[in-house]
């Protein structure tokens, strides 16, 4: 469903720009009403029992010292269970999130993924992608750029 967003957001933006005669400031002021709609979505449309389950899980994880059996006592909802990573040995009383970040997340996941991605890009395209980006900056529009489509 999130793929629809990539189409709808451009349509809304172009339509508002047309309504306000290409006045981007009034367009943004109108778009300011959209985030307020999140209150209605969060409060009425989302399943409140699931949100309460998420909140209970968060409270257990941020206060491990008060609940020594926090990893074994996570709230259950229906037949679905929380992610098994929560019962991993890296979570629990006396564990630090910063240690988990620097010792587990970065060296085991972030760094290898970054190196593999950069290596693959250099192996397949060399440095041309970097020069392409640099060239696109140098060839940026010099005139009045009313708006641009972001399709990334």
């Amino acid at each position: 469903m999130i793929g629809v967003l990539f189409v709808v957001r451009e349509i809304i933006y172009i339509a508002l720009m047309a309504v306000f005669q290409q006045d981007w400031k009034w367009t943004l002021r109108t778009i300011m009403l959209f985030p307020v709609a999140q209150v209605a979505v969060w409060s009425f449309m989302l399943c409140q029992e699931r949100l309460q389950h998420a909140e209970n899980t968060r409270q257990l994880l941020v206060k491990p010292s008060r609940r020594r059996d926090s990893a074994m006592d996570l709230p259950q909802y229906g037949n679905s269970t929380p992610p098994t990573a929560l019962t991993n040995a890296h979570f629990g009383p006396g564990r630090s999130k910063f240690k988990f970040l620097w010792r587990i997340i970065i060296p085991r996941y972030s760094l290898p993924l970054t190196l593999a991605t950069m290596g693959a890009m250099i192996a397949t395209t060399g440095l041309s992608s970097s020069y392409l980006t640099l060239n696109s900056f140098r060839l940026a529009p010099k005139g009045d750029l009313n708006y641009q489509l972001n399709c990334t």
């Binding site: 469903m1 909140e55 696109s136």
Partner: protein, 105 residues
């Protein structure tokens, strides 16, 4: 709107977003989700408001930076909450993002 430096707005958005992506999950986990969503909405409105203030570049660039932080906070919030939803909900939500179904199974 941004004569000659359209890419600067992208940098002003991406750098705060990248930094806050690392820092926010560690700090925001101490804040209840209901308050986090209100902070997220406030920052969303604030970023758009600052973008429209003034006639120079400072407003749009600062607004883009706040928008980057807002984006990271929103991603943290919905990813954290999604863990409590059924996996079919997450699969349905992610349709169109080119994420294979096997990632969620």
């Amino acid at each position: 709107m941004f004569p000659g430096i359209a890419g600067i707005a992208g940098i002003a958005f991406a750098v705060p977003a990248a930094i806050s992506s690392f820092a926010l999950p560690l700090l925001a986990s101490h804040i209840p989700y209901n308050i986090t969503i209100l902070i997220n909405i406030f920052l969303s409105v604030l970023s758009l408001l600052i973008c429209t203030l003034g006639s120079g570049l400072a407003g749009p660039l600062i607004g883009a930076g706040i928008g980057g932080v807002t984006s990271s906070l929103g991603q943290y919030l919905y990813l954290a909450v999604a863990a409590s939803f059924d996996q079919r909900v997450v699969i349905t939500f992610s349709i169109g993002t080119s994420k294979p179904r096997q990632m969620w199974e």
